[in-house]
Subunit: 392 residues, 2 copies
Amino acid sequence: MRQSTFEPGEYERRIEETKARMREEGLDALVVADPANMNYLSGYDGWSFYVNQAVIVTPDREEPVWVGRGMDANGARATTWLSEESIESYSDDHVHSPYDLHPMDYIADVLEALGVSDGTVGLEMDAYYFTAKSYTRLQENLGEATFEDATLLVNWVRIRKSERELDYMREAARISENAMRAGIDAIGEGVPESEAARAIYDALIRGTDDYGGDYPSIVPLMPSGDHTGTPHLTWTDREFEAGDPVIIELSGCRHRYHSPLARTAYVGDPPEEMTERMEIVVEGLEAALDAAEPGVTCERVEKAWRDTIAKYDIEKEERIGYSMGLGYPPDWGEHTASLRPGDETVLEEDMTFHMIPGLWFDDFGAELSETFHVTSNGAEVLADFPRKLFSA
Amino acid sequence: MRQSTFEPGEYERRIEETKARMREEGLDALVVADPANMNYLSGYDGWSFYVNQAVIVTPDREEPVWVGRGMDANGARATTWLSEESIESYSDDHVHSPYDLHPMDYIADVLEALGVSDGTVGLEMDAYYFTAKSYTRLQENLGEATFEDATLLVNWVRIRKSERELDYMREAARISENAMRAGIDAIGEGVPESEAARAIYDALIRGTDDYGGDYPSIVPLMPSGDHTGTPHLTWTDREFEAGDPVIIELSGCRHRYHSPLARTAYVGDPPEEMTERMEIVVEGLEAALDAAEPGVTCERVEKAWRDTIAKYDIEKEERIGYSMGLGYPPDWGEHTASLRPGDETVLEEDMTFHMIPGLWFDDFGAELSETFHVTSNGAEVLADFPRKLFSA
């Protein structure tokens, strides 16, 4: 058995909060398909989200029910806090089936057995891996059920972190620092991007002297040269050239908790203009960090950034950050609160955000980020890494 | 600009085959949301599939239309073969929006502009990232459209590989060999699983002397000890112990093409019983490889395996392989043909499969896989790696 990632009491609290929200929404059952939400409620951790699986919460059951593929049931036994009667699995002929079988047929049977097939069932309609077909197949199987969109219901429970969760995020931050240092050290004229990716991965998985790192939900991104205006391209064999700006965005991961970090480097001595633009990013980021404290809205935090860059006649459309923590590919974001105009979410203690402002111009981009924890004293920044344009 | 991964002519052929299938299905448009299918038709390659995006094919347009997030449009310009008028992007307020905006609203507008909003629109209903909400939102926006399930339409076009695709898979196989060797060398008594994961990742990204490796669609899996019966758990800080069996499943990746490989190692000198069971796996695998040739069905290939293990009074329920190649997280499988009973897909030249038979017992599992290419002379196995139980 694995070492317990959380005490059972912590899972019970999460389930209670989820049930409270289910009562507010009038749900008789909640089908949780987002792998991060499944982990949050049950502890389940495995690379099996490429097949349908779910954690089902019902009001009268203390434990949720894990449902997945037969060959993953042992994984559920090894990683969840659930007892044997809360683990249900379907046979392999449901997987990419040529027999007109679908895993959702089995999940419908479990809902039936739980006595909620004629009730109001909450679905994470916009969660990764809950496909359109998953939905229509449930509809076909459960003609008596009423379905409600419960996207983000569990994500909103996740937004405030426990002490243990914060510990894991701080551990992830140590890994992020090491990986960022490794990446900046590896980058140089004539070095292939893949070499820098290798150095970063090495540090991400090596972790620290005390613990190793988990795989991050997003691979290290390091758009360079012309591509700093293309933030989500991954590495190639292209060699870095003198004069390339390189944006490095990465995250250490510990028990699936992240602490993302972004910095920009320059191959050679950066031109004055770039250094100045980076200083604007840092000034804006620090203004926004200063504004972050309990009782303040997300849009107010973003406004501190926007007001700062406006002094330099710069406008920027994109949001500058989002709530995050636990995650599986393809994302470490929680999809709830964002730091942007119109988001009136009020910051509370123990929320955690990745603040990632950047300025992109035609010829290059400058980006610098911090992950922070909202405390009664304001923002606690998790990583300790210099805020400047690096020369690589 | 990146070096071209494929000649434009190859993309045009793929589009033509897709259009031919669309005609058969009576589709006026096809909305492709699976990132591997998007790459296959357009060349698009970026870690941006955590937001909605699509490639839309219509019969009267030579090029498909790429639709994605504003900040990813430059990535589309850099990686696709499409001209500027075939790249459309939505503003950032559509992303995880608090404004009741959804990226599918924009994609609906693009369908409208293409003149197909009252036509028959094919959707990949069961593709990763095409969520239930993506579907209902399209329905709400396009009241005049008729939607048809076109899941796997493009995947079936992908099943036969071109020479260039096979080259990339062979290059990926070289990486897989290096990574498997690194993993087996790293494993030993007292070594943390994360150390072995690090060695494998290092080899996966280092690639060969001639080219680096891309990130694989599935992280290296190496269930060990009690966990060989839990095939999809990922590494921890647990240290390998003498007597642990360790299953290593990994894949090199080159231009998003994979060549997966699995082997089993044993920490120390393996007991006779385990060696014998591995010999059964190898005998069954080789019988199935011998059976694989053009004109034979998938279920016939599986039967060769099943007949072999039956001689040893062993029965196994799971399928033993699947068509694969191009992929993005969470999977490198194509979800079309599987090597299992009931799958009557006839093998054709230039199909590629990952054959991964295994035998799991209460105390340990033995697994060994090969990726193969169907040629007129039978199966060409892509990797060259000994078929045995390794001592680590």
